[in-house]
Symmetry: C2
Subunit: 327 residues, 2 copies
């Protein structure tokens, strides 16, 4: 019997989940919910599309709802709303508001006796797990998170809003020097600006002034000002050919010391290199959907994070298979 998945929202993450479900033989996509006119939404797999406001007639048809909205305005409202009626998973990624979001979703999930798992993407999510594991294993040490090379939507949007910019993308890159120092285990102290560099690829509108645009980017407070920023001006053709994908990646490193006199250096490094950020996020969400489904069937309820989920719950194989092949 397969796990019946619903997608609440139909943006990048939802489309990615649609293909991800095809890789998991124990799952089945049953419906997409949109705030648009359903007949205007064409799904990749042809799965039926419904209005979000009709979702409550699906409570007995969906095992787990993937909440596919954005963290800024959708998830803070939609996850608590849906958590009462469905098992849900989301990838809520505003780090500073996770605890507040947790409390809102938890209240609702407990009322409805359903299981919710929040912030189950890669950061927060899998990177959070690695920060916790590595700090537990090396309590005497220091941890670092680097992001990139990857597209930052927020920074790309900021560049696109500058006068004279036709099209733009911003990549966040880990600083090679900073990475090198961390890998040497010398426990460097950095500001965020020292850990990352920023690289913009910009298509100008006809007649726009390169110098003014470059200066507007490099001096933009918060976004670029204190960073090492490079601006490349490119053509429409080059933009469409090389800069429309959504690569991302990152590295969680902890270096620490063990031994009676802390004489032994130990380094743990976890890194990902993604050609599609949303597809990786969606695949993780699907694993946590599996866990939510299993926990719900075991009688559990309430809100969880990745820290609460025993690893075997994520995996489709039997415990025996896991013990013989993966341990």
């Amino acid at each position: 019997m397969s796990i019946k998945i619903g997608l609440f929202g139909y943006g990048n993450i939802a489309k990615a989940a649609e293909s991800g479900i095809l890789q998991n033989s124990d799952m089945e996509l049953v419906a997409v919910f949109t705030r648009r006119n359903p007949s205007d939404v064409k799904t990749v797999s042809g799965v039926p599309v419904h209005k979000k406001q009709d979702v409550l007639s699906f409570t007995d048809k969906i095992d787990v709802m993937l909440m596919c909205g954005g963290s800024a305005t959708d998830l803070p409202k939609e996850s608590p709303d849906m958590a009462k009626y469905f098992n849900i998973v989301d990838s809520f990624d505003t780090h500073t508001k996770v605890l507040e979001h947790f409390n809102n979703v938890d209240k609702s999930a407990k009322e409805g006796k359903k299981v919710s798992i929040i912030s189950a993407g890669w950061d927060p999510g899998v990177f959070s797990l690695n920060r916790l594991f590595s700090e537990a294993f090396l309590p005497n040490g220091k941890g670092y998170t680097f992001w990139g090379k990857g597209v930052s939507q927020g920074h790309s949007d900021a560049v696109r809003r500058i006068d004279g910019v036709k099209q733009a993308v911003q990549y966040t890159n880990p600083s090679k020097d900073a990475l090198k120092e961390v890998r040497e285990g010398i426990l460097p102290v950095f500001s965020p600006c020292e850990m990352h560099t920023r690289e913009c690829f910009v298509v100008l509108k006809d007649g726009a002034n390169k110098g003014l645009v470059e200066s507007a980017i490099k001096n933009m407070p918060n976004y670029f000002k204190d960073y090492n920023t490079t601006v490349h001006f490119i053509t429409d053709e080059e933009f469409n050919k090389n800069h429309t994908a959504m690569p991302h990646g990152g590295t969680v490193i902890r270096s620490g010391f063990t031994g009676i006199d802390n004489e032994n250096k130990q380094i743990i490094e976890y890194s990902i290199k993604l050609n599609s950020n949303p597809e990786f996020t969606a695949n993780i969400l699907l694993c946590y959907a599996r866990a939510a489904y299993r926990l719900y069937n075991a009688g559990d309820s309430g809100c969880k994070t990745v820290f609460d989920i025993a690893p075997y719950l994520l995996f489709s194989g039997t415990k025996k298979d896991i013990m013989e092949r993966l341990i």
Copy 2:
């Protein structure tokens, strides 16, 4: 109230745990148990040493026993024996016998209503976790485990048994070419011999023949024959200066594809670089000891592996701290 730890056996892992406990303020070492004459055993911290046969008078004084014997002969007997009377953790590392060991320990732990966690080192252990996570997140792909650079005790012993060898150490190294191919995401297929190279540092006895020793090493079946093996002859002084530490490391990589036509390459890599293999292993064991203690206090019992343990159980901080700082 701190978690009272006992060490069953007093070899490399136990000594490493002794210093590891000092890094964990919620833990306290209460006793060491040895099969030697206790008065002959001098502990680093001065903790009392007792005979293994007296261990049962400590059932109310120890919260978790770290089983510090070897996987070949000690743990298969001692872990099931002790699991009935104590919460235990071990780093049993004979991959092919984990399921058998699990069943033996589980029976005993259930009889005694105690919690056991087995195979909780780095491989099996943390590497197992990474194999499971990465296969769950990227079901369409291929996983690889590389070991090294690190000392292999078994191979070092084999070299030391050769006529004319006074002292020797063998390092297992990941093959750079193999690593490169895996990181490119082309899903190469390897035999174990193609993934690793072997490097020996040998001190000869007076009058021994270099050529004969080198040939004996390189042609040793199972251990070296099909590997790319390098032999370095060095002096006593160089051996003592550079080759008495216990470094190790390794990498778990999975590369996979996502997308409706599997068009997007995704790579996950977990790697560790250890200056002290036993101290890292001991630190992991201590985290799982914390988990065993918490599960026991919550009324759980029976044998577990790393796959069964929710991540937050490993960490000494509060759930709130974890949610605010690490997620």
